[in-house]
């Protein structure tokens, strides 16, 4: 019943995190020498820190790694966009444009400068929040993204505050009734939801709630002039779609992580103390299942921000995803680069927070010997 759960997830995580402690000196040291030069003269600083407070050392290491990773991603985005075939000037002016006209536009946009110069110029601006001007509309990219990002986050936020508690709660419920009817029902429904592509789920919801029953708003386009109530009603369907899509993954992971912990000796101890099963799950199992669950939640949150392109297109919702897709079709490179970098940043930093939370949740690191 309990013996054949999945592999020792949480335990492995715990030992891996603990095992990294001694190495953090080396990794962080190398980051320091390539990225920001901190304390070059005292190599033992990291060794000392990771010994006295491994928690701080590990968190600093994660921060440094995330920043380094973001720089690497910016390089890849820029390189990738450079490598794209085709050219804004030719697309913009058409096939019959004179070489002189193309040359002028290239000069206007600064495309005649070498790639490295343009990269550092772009990066310098990006760090200060200035992503340059859109080639197509000549407007400031930052300004436009600001509005679109706000919309995307608005949608993601509501999807998250519904799906995360729901997923964790359903996961615990499934453990409580494991292999019985409620568990099976939860499993089947969530599996069905994750198996259908999100555009299909979206169309189904539109068909039932907007077309047949007429209770929901469609399309989900929001305007500046809308009140908060109108906005909420507009995003009801896309939010529901997103919740259905991300729910199953988080729910199943919560169930698996807690079940894995439920087969451990300390849960048996709790059972032999005569505690109620609810207390056993909430107090003895859940705290030890936090690390893997947090990771899945972070992945899904990142998906909510980054992966909603399809949902935004289906519901005609003016978010980041749609903006980026539009920019790619007209080769509006500053917009593509900016969107790419912002998506990457969300992804990296959400995962970093998950890592840090998982580290903080580990009593071995929080309370070193």
């Amino acid at each position: 019943m309990t013996g054949n759960g999945p592999a020792h997830g949480p335990e492995l995580t715990a030992t891996a995190a603990a095992g990294e402690a001694p190495q953090s000196a080396g990794v962080a040291g190398s980051v320091a020498s390539t990225g920001a030069p901190v304390d070059e003269g005292t190599p033992s600083f990291w060794a000392k820190l990771s010994k006295s407070s491994p928690l701080v050392a590990l968190i600093l290491q994660r921060l440094a790694l995330s920043v380094a990773l973001l720089f690497a991603v910016s390089l890849m985005i820029f390189g990738g966009v450079e490598a794209l075939p085709g050219d804004f000037a030719t697309t913009y002016l058409g096939q019959s444009a004179t070489p002189q006209a193309i040359e002028n536009i290239r000069k206007d946009l600064g495309l005649d400068q070498p790639a490295t110069t343009r990269y550092f110029k772009w990066l310098g601006g990006a760090i200060q929040g200035d992503f340059g001007n859109s080639w197509a509309s000549k407007n400031s990219v930052s300004e436009q993204i600001g509005k679109r990002l706000g919309n995307s986050l608005f949608l993601a936020f509501f999807a998250a505050i519904i799906s995360v508690p729901l997923a964790v709660g359903l996961g615990m419920l499934a453990v409580q009734y494991r292999n019985r009817m409620p568990d099976k029902i939860i499993n089947v429904i969530s599996l069905a939801a994750i198996s259908l592509p999100e555009f299909f789920v979206g169309y189904l919801l539109i068909l039932f709630f907007a077309v047949q029953m007429g209770v929901a708003t469609f399309p989900a386009t929001v305007y500046d002039s809308m009140t908060i109530g109108q906005r909420l009603s507009a995003i009801a369907l896309p939010t529901a779609t997103l919740v259905l899509v991300v729910l199953a993954h988080m729910m199943r992971m919560t169930r698996a992580a807690i079940l894995n912990v439920m087969s451990s000796a300390y849960v048996e101890t709790a059972e032999l103390k005569g505690l109620s099963s609810l207390r056993i799950i909430a107090r003895h199992a859940a705290p030890n299942a936090v690390a893997p669950v947090i990771n899945v939640i972070a992945l899904n949150l990142a998906y909510l921000v980054v992966g909603v392109v399809v949902v935004e297109v289906v519901f005609v919702y003016p978010g980041m995803g749609q903006y980026m897709v539009d920019a790619v079709t007209v080769r509006d490179m500053p917009v593509v680069q900016a969107c790419g970098l912002i998506f990457a940043a969300f992804y990296i930093f959400l995962n970093m927070f998950a890592d840090i939370l998982a580290i903080v949740a580990n009593p071995r690191l929080r309370h070193p010997r």
Binding site: G3, P22, A265, E268, G274, N288, R364, H367
Partner: protein, 543 residues
Amino acid sequence: MPDLLSVRNLKIEATSYPPGEPPKTVTLVEGVNFDVQKGKVLGLIGESGAGKSTIGLTALAYGRGGVRITGGEVKLNGEDLLKLGPAGIRKVRGCKVCYVAQSAAAAFNPAHRLGEQVIEASLKHGVMGRAEAEKRALYLFKVLGLPSPETFGQRYPHQVSGGQLQRAMTAMALCPNPELIVFDEPTTALDVTTQIDVLAAIKHAIEETHTAALYITHDLAVVAQITDDILVLRHGKMVEYGSVKQIIEAPTQDYTRALVNVRGTKREEAPDQSDTLLKVDNITAGYSNGFKVLQNVSLHLPKGQTLAVVGESGSGKSTLARVITGLLPPQEGTISFDGTPLPRALKGRTNDQLRRIQMIYQMADTAMNPRQTVRDIIGRPLTFYYGLRGARKTERVKELLEQIEMGGRFADRYPAELSGGQKQRVAIARALAAQPELILCDEPTSALDPLVAEGILKLLLKLQDETHVSYMFITHDIAIVRAIADSVAVMHRGRLVRFGPKSKVLSPPFDDYTDLLLKSVPEMEIGWLEKVLTTRRMESAGN
């Protein structure tokens, strides 16, 4: 006196799911009867699979995994626990009957402080208020001899040692003032020098609180120190039930007699120890974090003889074996084999050098590929070192199986189809297949039941007589050292404390550590524990 716990006609079953077959119901325990009076201790003893733990847990009406109690009665103060519903049994668990697990390290929740876990059951059952429970926990920490009892409860499980955790677990069981405690091998996972402290603490605590107990162990010498009665079990059935005195001094059953006299193997040390095979010179080794596991270790091993390396966990015994095999290149020092220095790392050694040193591990289970048959496992070194194939290989595998007293019919079995002792025999055959001159044995018997372990030791000695192979035998068990060694190395915290022929090392004058180690080994003698504790007290008073 009325019985506190009375078990009658106990029957316990489990359902097993063999792959490809319909589920089977297996009877684990049948026809077991025993009684425990108030304030008395009953020892349950037997080898693994005897149903000791399963029977112990019935006192809490608990079945581990798919185990079900299907018959008989378990009466606590006249009330049948098996007839109580889930809510009723919850009131008994952790309140009237408590449990101390074998591995306290796994049984404590890593996410909560020890103190909270110790008093949790008392609070939840409403036995006492928080202030009172904390006071009692403090009292118990003191009784059990835990260091700085005032702050002990604020620590997390990973912050204290294994022996301390085992004592904390005992405190956790004693806290709600239960009528009965089930101790499930509470000292088996501990070093001998720690075991004696924990045993003394448990005994003292039981006497102080007048709690009754079921004490489960496979070590008759341990149970003789702590219990009033003993129940000997085998294959889920009762073998013998009587007072400690009767069981130890006048056992009536053959099986009990075998358990009492288990340490029958004895070898005289070889008189001439001059023909050196392995010479370890001034080895210092450690891991990348700078911690030195071995410091300046020098020893040597004569041809065809056995060197026992003895010490507690963490003393560097296994690391020494890793250094000799080349798995862990030493930071300093040299190793020479048969007069020629060995390259430090595994990579630098020739196939022939590798062939001449083989290894046997503690867990034969994990040292063999579960998807290979015995033929493949033993045949691999034959092909690798000697290029044997086909009929010649089959013939040789059969020969080796005969040599380890198993016979050719085992060749097509998988490791999962073998018992623990048989697996270890196959591991020995695999080592022998290379025809080595030295076999490093890393605690090959410590995971086995005493009678099975005895068989392995006898086999090893027989093979030594036949093939003149040398053994470096790593163990924490002094009795094994006495039985099979020619020379002995005592290790403590990475240093060699004592080294020489067995007769010299194991006879006085001792250094402090060897003395402690030798005195900590339980002897099959009633009152041994008191005697040791009294001597200790006198010694510390004398200092």
